[in-house]
């Protein structure tokens, strides 16, 4: 096996990678690891953490541990699909704007600014309230609001690449514009696209959980935000209802952020550890 590049070694990558991996495993297998059905109500309400229910039970007697284990799926799904879709849209828009320039560039950049100004969270709240809570609609909306950052970064990169000698040379030997864009320019912006996408996974997870917390999450799937929403009226009675799903959320976001950071350091060794938010 090849050794990891220098920037990939060290505690940040290890902790970030480990937590991300754990979250992914939970997203796939958490439901089958759960000791109970996370939706199953019982008469054992507000049980503190103990031998029968390790993380206690909620106001309807549902097992907190099972909820925490099953809740990873929604978070990770929304986080990764949003980031990937936004990367795709952003790279396309930014690539076209930067490469073709002129009127196309102007139009696309105005559009980018418009989307960037639109308050993402307000929109998400509005859409969830108006169209009903749905993971699919939320993911589409988030992807639509997350792409401008990628578009701007890619455009800036493509603008400078366009002037490089090898691109001019490629044009001189008669390659088509689209071929130059896809074969010669795109490979040089993949790094920035990946890093931005990784950074956005954490942000998308936070928005999804925030909506869940407001009671605007998809109630057909258990999620950590949903559990925190349930916990709000009972904070003084049953702290475990809030603390355990909240910790799961924090550790997941922390892991993804640290991982994105390691990716950034690997991509740009000159600026080690930008430390994502």
């Amino acid at each position: 096996m090849r050794r990891l590049p220098v920037a990939w070694r060290g505690p940040i990558t290890l902790v970030g990678g480990g937590l991300t991996l754990l979250a992914i495993v939970l997203a796939i297998a958490g439901r089958s690891l759960a000791p109970h059905d996370p939706f199953a109500v019982s008469t054992l309400q507000f049980q503190p953490p103990g031998a029968s229910h390790w993380l206690g039970t909620d106001d309807l007697g549902r097992d907190t541990l099972s909820g925490v284990l099953s809740g990873a799926r929604v978070s990770l799904l929304v986080g990764f699909v949003t980031a990937a879709t936004a990367a795709l849209i952003g790279a396309t828009v930014g690539g076209i704007a930067g490469f073709y320039g002129g009127l196309v560039d102007d139009l696309l950049m105005r559009l980018t600014e418009l989307v960037q100004i639109a308050p993402r969270f307000f929109l998400a709240v509005l859409v969830a309230a108006l169209f009903g809570p749905s993971v699919v609609i939320l993911t589409i909306l988030l992807a639509i609001t997350f792409w401008p950052l990628t578009a701007r970064l890619v455009r800036a990169q493509v603008l400078s690449l366009r002037q490089r000698e090898y691109v001019i040379a490629a044009r001189a030997i008669g390659l088509t514009e689209s071929r130059i864009l896809l074969r010669h320019v795109l490979p040089n912006v993949v790094g920035i696209i990946l890093v931005t996408a990784a950074l956005q996974v954490g942000s998308a997870i936070i928005v999804e959980a925030s909506l869940g917390f407001l009671g605007l999450g998809d109630r057909s799937m258990i999620s950590w935000g949903y559990m925190l929403n349930d916990a709000q009226p009972f904070l003084r009675v049953a702290w475990w209802m809030s603390v355990f799903p909240g910790l799961a959320l924090v550790l997941t976001i922390l892991g993804v952020n640290l991982f994105a950071d390691a990716l950034y350091a690997a991509w740009d060794p000159g600026r080690r550890s930008r430390l994502a938010v």
């Binding site: 600014e113 100004i117 108006l130 959980a209 917390f213 003084r236 924090v250 922390l254 952020n257």
Partner: protein, 320 residues
């Protein structure tokens, strides 16, 4: 400078119109009928028709949009369906509470963040620095609503030090200084909830900026001519390190606004965030659209202020 600011404001107008059209279309695409929410499900068709006519909901969508944009340009945002008052008044009532919350959180997190960042940079790679860095990482990964819940559990529940909700005690507070103290007491938990993310960000940026600045030649020169580390840090490195901090505070204004919405809901703070939430649940369209406009406008203004401040702090930056 004045021309620059004016031009930026003029450029913002199409953006704001775009935001309005977007929300208008979105709201009208959604299922749900405001007339039924207002009048209940039991009314007859004639009653609904009268209400539709009264609120202009019987006209075509493009017509409604033109009417709305026209009056919005005159500063008239219509009447709130639910509160039956001009939207402008409803919003104006809530601005002070949100402003107090956001400005206190911004001021506290910025000053504390610069202080912590300076400590970390001075003791780079040592225990204090590592503790602060790990703290910023965890702070940056903690969503406001969870932090708020933990603060309520510990400080309001277990210790009973701070109030759980509201902006002031309901009665028994004399106006003047005691009232101010009461407000501060109610502010502690919400401000902490809202400020931690920003604190993490400012600390981290200050630290990184200072460490870079201390490696520069002017810092070495200052040390060589005998200045103490503190003096080099404060007089030479800090002004340069704070530039990126200014930009980031400005560009994160939208995030702070979002945080304020969640914080207000946790602590029953009577500001714009709660208003947005209530307006969403009752489908109060005119209020919703105006709130969107206010949110977008504040983001645009925050960006502009940031750019102007950047130019003021760094004479090398020319605004044009």
């Amino acid at each position: 400078m004045t021309r620059y600011v004016l031009r930026r404001l003029v450029q913002a107008v199409p953006l704001l119109v775009g935001v309005l059209v977007l929300t208008f279309v979105l709201i009208h695409l959604a299922p749900g009928d405001p007339v039924r929410i207002l009048g209940g499900d039991g009314g007859d068709a004639a009653y609904y028709a009268t209400m539709r006519e009264k609120f202009g909901l019987d006209r075509s969508l493009p017509e409604q949009l033109v009417v709305y944009l026209g009056s919005a340009l005159h500063g008239d945002f219509g009447y709130s369906y639910v509160q039956r008052r001009p939207v402008f008044e409803v919003i104006a009532d809530r601005v002070p509470a949100t402003s107090v919350l956001m400005l206190t959180a911004l001021a506290a997190s910025t000053s504390l963040g610069i202080w912590l960042g300076a400590i970390a940079a001075r003791r780079a790679e040592r225990a204090a620095d590592r503790t602060i860095t790990v703290g910023t990482l965890i702070g940056g990964a903690t969503p406001a609503f969870f932090l708020g819940q933990v603060l309520v559990i510990v400080f309001a529940g277990m210790l009973g030090w701070f109030p759980v909700s509201g902006m002031g005690a309901a009665r028994g507070v004399t106006p003047g200084f005691p009232q101010f103290l009461d407000l501060l007491w109610h502010l502690v938990l919400p401000v902490t909830t809202l400020g931690v993310l920003q604190l993490a960000l400012v600390t981290r940026l200050t630290r990184a900026g200072l460490i870079d600045a201390l490696r520069e030649e002017y810092a070495r020169t200052a040390t060589a001519k005998g200045l103490s580390t503190t003096a080099v840090l404060r007089r030479h490195a800090l002004p340069n390190a704070l530039l990126p901090v200014v930009t980031v505070i400005g560009s994160h204004f939208g995030t702070v606004l979002t945080g304020a919405v969640l914080t207000e809901i946790i602590f029953a703070w009577p500001g714009l965030g709660r208003l947005l939430f209530d307006a969403t649940l009752t489908r109060d369209y005119p209020l919703l659209m105006a709130l969107f406009l206010v949110a977008s406008l504040s983001v645009i203004v925050a960006n502009l202020v940031t750019d102007v401040a950047y130019g003021a702090f760094d004479p090398r930056v020319r605004l044009s």
